[in-house]
Symmetry: D2
Subunit: 366 residues, 4 copies
């Protein structure tokens, strides 16, 4: 059923296959009066775009987004916003050999079984190509959240294979092709990726996304808690296998005295919760981590079957990222923006504007 | 906005506060003709019930569920099913002292800020008491899934503080108050909990839930992927801070050759994916893990503020589980059942009955 | 699919059969801070209640509503509100003879075919008994709309069989059992109903519902226009076969110069539109009419078939209203309140509070 | 809130303004395997297209629909379908004079008030231009319903001003520019429209839409009854002010013995209900009527105010239909197709395929 719409009040409905004519979508529920043009969205699309470094796929798509409606005299009108990105680089021939067999670790098998047949060109709908529309739509949310609420959303790489990031300097993140916020790790990343590429293999990654200057009060218990909706958004990004809020899996071995964020008139002492209590934002930094699997599109042969169930071997040629986690950073930012935007509207529908809540305490101690 | 409904086709809408008159809900979308009575639901309610061991809260609620509608001559009619559980043990006096201050790590602060005031009796709506309704509703889904599709849903404890579980024997799980599937760890758990109780502290846990005999084909990309909806469901359980599908965060340091589950005519060689590819079930075991934080309801004093922002100290007295993760096992099972039920209906709406798909390969090698 | 929830932001989910244990529902999305108790809802339930006049069914149900949650210290908390009405008068024996055959004009045939079997006791879920919950839920909306926006919702009988109402005096409506707003027609109605009862027949009716002191701006084009959502709500009331906004079917023979409501600085000259333009409220009186069919539950024998398709005759004995349209007046009011409440929240989510819009012109000329 | 999506399982989300770059939308939930191409949709778009007769607006838009995704090898894939129609005829200058004032009877006033400003070019989003996307999306539903269920959807003009249609011959409908199914009335319509055009005025109309070869069982009580969802769809068409199912407002003066459709083993004796009982289809012809107001875009001056509330006069020049009801016939067909498609999927989700229900009796007597 209609699984291509995200959100309840601020909705994004997407369409498009990797190697079809175009991808695009409709953003509905954007308040009127927001100054908006294509440049606002293009920046993040360019960050996500393949071919920007030697470690991401060499596919050159322009990813140029067109806004088809919903803007008048430079401002959103409150009506639905049509987004279109033409597919300019559709080398279907690269993929024709996978028509009859299932790439291990890909959606080939499940799509074929679910729908009876599949658009095998470049993964069709299951390709991450589709996430470009999410990034464009997220750009609208990002701008609104920043402008009206001052909310700042920033993603970064936290770990790539064995290379863990130790410090987070948001100024560093966009200066390198890894979205790495720690400049002491750039060399190690570069070396690791060089070896990996030589090997023809791929690697997993952990990425993080943070929202600062958060209002207190976002989240709709008991099912549409803010953390639950974030988990839905993030686990819905291609290749994500795990999602954490705040301390995440570290809580398993924490005691109550370790974890509870004590409070003083000057603010919370700590932020183990990651900015959410009872499914509602505390006003502290919202901190989300996720794990992305290594892509199965590698040039090392693997065992599989064809669509008739017969044994076969698969090597995925073509242009693929050895670490798909890297490019997921702007996607994760976009998805967080979509969730927060939806929750701002949901909150405001039933309560006074979340902007007008006066927090009892500051979010954090100075 | 109306965050108290879960699901799209098989929906559960809940109401009720910890210390109100009753909790309950409406299950909508259940197909007609399913044999169903209260006993089908009571079993899991009893598993979730507080007071069943010396390590869970001593609160004695009967948690007796009444089915008010939707059943006729012993079978579901296809109309909505009303569920009611009376609150029999409402010792409001235990909680009256927290009326004016915020327990650290609890939803007190966020509810007060979001709504302007809060039902402070026992946590009100933010109490895990509400999950009893989820368990009852999940029982309907569980029975349907088992009867029509043969799907078996089983949860268990995977880790409690430092005590990790090494083997999973589903026959062991329900023989002990920890839902521990590894009988070699029962003694260690018992010892750990005894010490913890003495200390007046609490501990986090990791729990897992598995679905076997899964059909291939469940999940609605690109946003309502099966894994995304599971993440939403699990992160929406009180105290959950992290969710993993399959290898979860271990994928961060896996290579493509490690992770991709190769395929042979006899089935998949492995199940790193945890039973989901491209957001659609593969037919393999569906495997979900989650991390639950230690409860902040402990008898060790903590620093906080009152509703006016003034400094205060909090000790949570009363009857509380030192490890809330344990009792979450039947809740996680219920939530997985609700997700799968919803997805079975969503799949069937657009495609032929998922039961009628003939898998190209067996789910796993013998 | 889950057709038992009404609304998107202010939702009502109902359950219960005519002769089951209880009927009830969950209201979700009510803003916090509204003073509310059971008396606020009971008034309209009593207006809808059968047995209040000699022309409505003699069934005596107390229709006493209990609020199970969502209220604390006399005010709504922003959490979901559980509603329960016990069925106290379940004389199942009256209906046992219709178990095996289909009453013409009733839902017996369609329920049996759709679901494979049906709760035949008193119409089960298809009975208008279920609308009591709508009336209770609508009472919450009514109170909110009145208190926060000053919106006044009033229904009345417009025509009963051949007896058309000529003037609308809202002060008269609730002084008589017909909800007739025209005191010059009371005698004619009384005479007509007496004859009808003697005849053992039933009659159709036209009823109307009005909302005054409306804000301008409610409605979400292009699909969830205010008029469209009202049509959905009204056509969903049992026995309704037609819905009109403003001039309704009279527009078929109107010219543009007749219909367009011209505007002057002092307000609109007329209200042919019934208070909606382009799917959005104008601030004028919102005026809705609907046609209700004569009930098929009459004591004059009719031809039908049994569940095996064999010919049979049906006489509906028992306690039935000769004009179901009359009792639909409070139901229509409740449904309009639910639609308006939902649209107030939907508007406020995306725009500034509808209360803060300054109309360019007054709604109507003095 | 996001009012631009129609449907729950088979959804259509639209975007686009009258004089923007393009209009379009996303159809989600279409089952895989349906043969589909642009020609399937173009036929109805051409029927709706302005400029096809001298009585509809002379605007010449090509209305050529492009399918951007969701089709592979000529068949639907089960993924979302992107639709795009470029606006080729955007003479913005025609409308610039209405920038500062409100046309009476139009959405100008309500859009300006709701959103704070509006796209005044050709009505922006409130223009019927947007319905072209509904017609394209409805074409997909129509094809599916016809091919899989044999359902035939046909609309026609029932009355135009004083000219009532007496007989319905579906073979006649598409032979004339009025969609009039009665060839004895063509001359009267032609004469009436000629006079009307000379007068510079406009006229209302009644149109009808029928679905034959209906399955029994469609509809999801209690709120998403088939008739309720049809009313929502039809009242959401621009200019519609009333909707009837079956006998509609005639029921007001019918008795139970007149209205109830008695049943015999050979089928129903009559169809006063219009094919719906208890909100569920009976298998009989589904019959829906609606009233469309005369457009306010006429060349006879009318009184109004400007956006500052000052008095002004308005003459709507430009190319406008003197009877917008005529062109609404294919729109109404499309909307009925969308509703039925949605309900087929909703039914099938919870029950066995509606195609597999064996009706106890034939729909109608021979």
């Amino acid at each position: 059923m209609s699984g291509n719409t995200f959100g309840k009040l601020f909705t994004v409905t997407t369409f498009g296959e990797s190697h079809g004519i175009a991808i695009g979508g409709v953003v509905d529920g954007c308040p009127p009066g927001l100054l908006l043009n294509e440049d606002d969205l293009q920046h993040d699309l360019d960050r996500r775009k393949p071919g920007t470094s030697r470690y991401t796929t060499a596919r050159r798509e322009e990813d140029e987004v067109k806004i088809l409606s919903g803007i008048f005299e430079g401002k959103t009108t409150g009506t639905s916003i049509g987004l279109l990105i033409n597919n300019t680089d559709q080398r279907s021939q690269d993929y024709s050999k996978i028509k009859e067999s299932f790439r291990p670790g890909h959606a080939d098998y499940t799509y074929q079984q679910k729908y009876g047949f599949r658009d095998y060109r470049g993964g069709g709908r299951s390709s991450a190509r589709e996430t470009a529309v999410r990034v464009a739509a997220g750009g609208i949310a990002k701008k609104f959240l920043k402008q009206i609420y001052g909310i700042e959303i920033r993603g970064y790489l936290s770990q790539l294979g064995p290379v863990a990031i130790d410090k987070v300097d948001h100024d560093v993140t966009n200066t390198n092709p890894f979205f790495c916020p720690d400049d002491t790790k750039l060399e190690a990343l570069d070396a690791y990726m060089r070896d990996l590429k030589k090997e023809g293999n791929s690697i997993g990654a952990k990425i993080s996304v943070s929202a600062t200057n958060m209002p207190v009060g976002l989240g709709e218990p008991v099912f549409d808690r803010l953390d639950a909706d974030i988990a839905h958004a993030m686990m819905g990004i291609n290749a994500v296998k795990g999602v954490e809020i705040g301390d995440g899996f570290d809580v398993v071995n924490q005691k109550g005295t370790d974890h509870r964020d004590e409070i003083s008139p000057e603010g919370f002492h700590s932020n183990h919760a990651g900015g959410v209590l009872g499914g509602i934002s505390t006003g502290q930094e919202l901190l989300v981590h996720m794990a992305l699997k290594p892509t199965s599109s590698i040039s090392i042969s693997g065992e599989s079957v064809d669509i008739h169930g017969k044994s076969t071997d698969i090597i995925t040629k073509g242009r693929h990222d050895p670490c798909v986690g890297i490019r997921a950073v702007p996607i994760a930012e976009a998805m967080l923006a979509l969730v927060l935007m939806d929750h701002v509207l949901r909150h405001n529908a039933q309560n006074k504007d979340v902007n007008s809540i006066t927090p009892v305490i500051p979010a954090s101690r100075p």
